[in-house]
């Protein structure tokens, strides 16, 4: 069981060790916020269906307590994603950016990757100062503040203007849980300048069987005329839980396309935020979750329309089996200035088991009068008519179920644009759905 004084001790240790750190002040603010908010409970509306506190019944090692992980590049090989030979690979181990395990294939001048602390000191310090922690204005719970309190070993990624990145950015969050229960708190800030094109792929892996909790925050700043694709792949083991926050600020008129795929894990909470800070922004958010066992997945999304003429479309689809629990909370904010907003949202679910649960909630807060917003959600079982139609042509029931479920997932799968990645996810889905056969 971890309590507040454990966190306080560790926090003070971190601050004392690095009194000159340019991050010290933001950590301090983070800790004050954490101290005030505490860990969220189910009484907190934003955490109503996800009892994240119970994860802290485990005793975790703080990264500072253990010597650096002995993971080698060969260990990482086992978890690399398809397409990695063409990718810039950024590796975090136990929440810390590991330059020696990372690989950069884009030429200098197209991409800069620095330890966050270094960036906060050098020529990028204004960017860090302005944007690091901007998500705290949106997520005020203790979990988020906990990450900010312990920013240490984070990464800063910079894409200069007029660059079309030929090599995607793969970000691996690896927890080395071979010896201890691990609490990892990776932090990253990605700054994307104007007239750029970037593919980001983020994934999580745990090596070892001890309990592991990853509390990760990524903040992304997107400038004018940038096209950003973002893929989050979650295919962990049951001993791995996580809170994964992606906070995207579209500060210039830009295009964001994000897909979150969740197939496995313990308790998972995703915060996917897009803040439309410039007129004419466009964002497409997709989610696909296919869960079995006891996985608990909570997808919180937020599209905040600050400026006029923005377009957002959101489609999350899920298949839940066994005793899985799903949560979808989709919030759309339309601020008074954000006239002519177009914002759409859909969540569709298929429950394969009587013991599976889905809690789905759209949340629209509209303060402008000339907007088009819609939301819808469905919860159902496999379509009996379709199933019978296929069987009546000689297709076995189990194959028919698999076909229908795969077809259900297809429109999200099709949103994964890198071919190798799409093929990989499709294969994982096919394997999963053939396991789901009854």
């Amino acid at each position: 069981m971890m309590n507040l004084s454990d966190f306080k001790d560790h926090f003070e240790q971190l601050q004392t060790e690095n009194p000159e750190s340019p991050i010290a002040q933001i950590r301090l603010e983070g800790f004050h916020a954490f101290d005030k908010a505490g860990l969220p409970t189910k009484r907190n509306e934003e955490w109503k269906y996800t009892d994240i506190g119970k994860l802290f019944n485990n005793e975790y090692r703080f990264v500072a307590d253990i010597s650096d992980s002995s993971l080698t590049s060969t260990d990482v090989d086992a978890i690399r994603l398809p397409g990695h030979l063409e990718a810039n690979e950024i590796v975090f181990v136990n929440g810390r950016f590991m330059p020696v395990l990372s690989k950069f294939r884009s030429p200098q001048g197209q991409l800069t990757v620095l330890p966050l602390e270094d960036a906060a000191r050098g020529i990028y310090k204004e960017m860090v100062r302005e944007h690091l922690g901007c998500s705290s204005a949106y997520i005020k719970d203790g979990i988020h503040a906990l990450n900010t309190s312990f920013i240490n070993g984070g990464v800063f990624i910079y894409i200069p203007k007029e660059q079309e990145l030929n090599h995607p950015l793969y970000i691996y969050h690896i927890s080395d849980a071979r010896q201890y229960n691990i609490l990892s708190q990776p932090r990253s800030l990605i700054y994307i300048e104007r007239n750029t094109k970037v593919q980001l792929v983020e994934t999580f892996s745990t090596i070892g069987t001890s309990e592991c909790f990853t509390n990760q925050v990524m903040e992304v700043v997107v400038h004018n005329n940038a096209v950003v694709e973002y893929y989050k792949i979650q295919n962990e083991t049951a001993n791995a839980s996580q809170v994964s926050t992606t906070h995207i600020r579209q500060t210039g008129r830009s295009y964001v396309h994000a897909v979150t795929v969740t197939l496995n894990g313990g308790m998972i909470r995703n915060n996917m935020n897009v803040v439309m800070e410039a007129a004419g922004n466009e964002a497409h958010l997709f989610g696909l979750y296919i869960l079995n066992g006891h996985t608990h997945l909570d997808n919180h999304t937020l599209v905040d329309n600050v400026k006029p003429n923005c377009f957002s479309n959101e489609l999350y689809k899920g298949i839940l089996d066994n005793e899985t629990i799903g949560v979808f909370n989709g919030k759309i904010m339309v601020r008074p200035d954000a006239q002519k907003t177009n914002a759409y949202q859909t969540n569709k679910n298929i429950l394969l088991s009587d013991d599976a649960t889905i809690n789905t909630k759209p949340q629209l807060e509209i303060f402008a009068d000339d907007v088009k917003c819609s939301h819808g959600c469905t919860v159902g079982q496999l379509d009996e008519n379709a199933l019978f139609y296929l069987r009546a042509r000689g297709i076995p029931k189990s194959d028919a179920q698999e076909l229908l479920l795969k077809a259900f997932a297809l429109d999200i799968l099709d949103q994964i644009k890198p071919e190798l990645l799409r093929g990989y996810i499709e294969q994982l889905i096919t394997e999963r759905l053939s396991v789901n056969k009854k």
Partner: protein, 254 residues
């Protein structure tokens, strides 16, 4: 080929079929007519193996086998084909892949090798030409966004590909205009031969003008109340079902 003996069936506790007897030989076309709610589509669903319907009494043998013991997929592989009144739209499943899977399931059941891609395409092309089906229809998801006529033609196309022994056509004419009806009926006529049989379920005479049934049966309140030749269908077309209902109600009253 098919022998239905005293079939009783219900759905959610509601009795729909009340003792149907019907025997169909190879090479024959039978038509079942009757007013709405008489049990026509229930009979089709029971024969195809729809699980919501519970057969409470009676037997069905198909080619000397107990049909009711079989799963829907096995019935299809044995050669029963139900052309749906409302073909289901299945987004995300390609029509071609679906038909290929169906054809190969049937071959597997018979102990035959699956068709390779080339032979399958050849077979498809042949049947497409025969039924004048457009390639673009088959590259789409199953029935997705198809018009009523396209859906029915797709049913007939699947039928042509699977070469069933017993073709059950459930309200094949519903939702079709006169041109589409002619095309669909011509397609069906091309598929019939002395080794297969057709059971047509319909409200109206018009499909029967094209298909020329050997026998016409009138279903009312879950029973066949009258059987005859195609002249019976014309009589119904002229007089409606009222005289049948009156007759049947009189018998029940007695």
């Amino acid at each position: 080929m098919l022998s239905i003996t005293n079939i009783h069936a219900s759905i959610e506790g509601k009795q729909i079929l009340n003792g149907i007897n019907l025997s169909i030989q190879a090479g024959e076309i039978h038509a079942i007519m009757g007013p709405n709610g008489s049990g026509k589509s229930t009979l089709a669903a029971v024969l195809a193996g729809r699980e919501q319907y519970e057969v409470t009494e009676g037997a069905v043998t198909f080619l000397q086998k107990d049909l009711l013991e079989m799963s829907p997929e096995d019935r299809a592989r044995e050669g029963v084909f139900l052309a749906f009144q409302y073909p289901v739209e299945i987004p995300g499943v390609s029509t071609t892949n679906f038909i290929k899977a169906a054809v190969n399931e049937k071959r597997k059941y018979r102990g035959e090798e699956p068709l390779d891609a080339v032979s399958f395409m050849k077979l498809m092309k042949e049947k497409m030409a025969m039924l004048r089906i457009d390639q673009s229809l088959l590259s789409r998801s199953i029935n997705e966004g198809f018009s009523g006529g396209e859906k029915k033609r797709n049913e007939i196309f699947q039928m042509a590909m699977l070469e069933p022994k017993l073709m059950i056509l459930d309200e094949m004419d519903s939702g079709l205009d006169i041109d589409a009806l002619r095309i669909v009926a011509n397609g069906i006529n091309k598929l019939r031969n002395e080794n297969n049989a057709i059971l047509i379920i319909t409200h109206y005479q018009r499909l029967l003008d094209y298909l020329q049934p050997d026998f016409v049966h009138v279903l009312y309140n879950g029973r066949i109340v009258r059987s005859g030749t195609k002249e019976l269908a014309m009589e119904l077309e002229e007089n409606g079902y009222d005289f049948i209902k009156e007759e049947a109600n009189l018998i029940t009253a007695e």
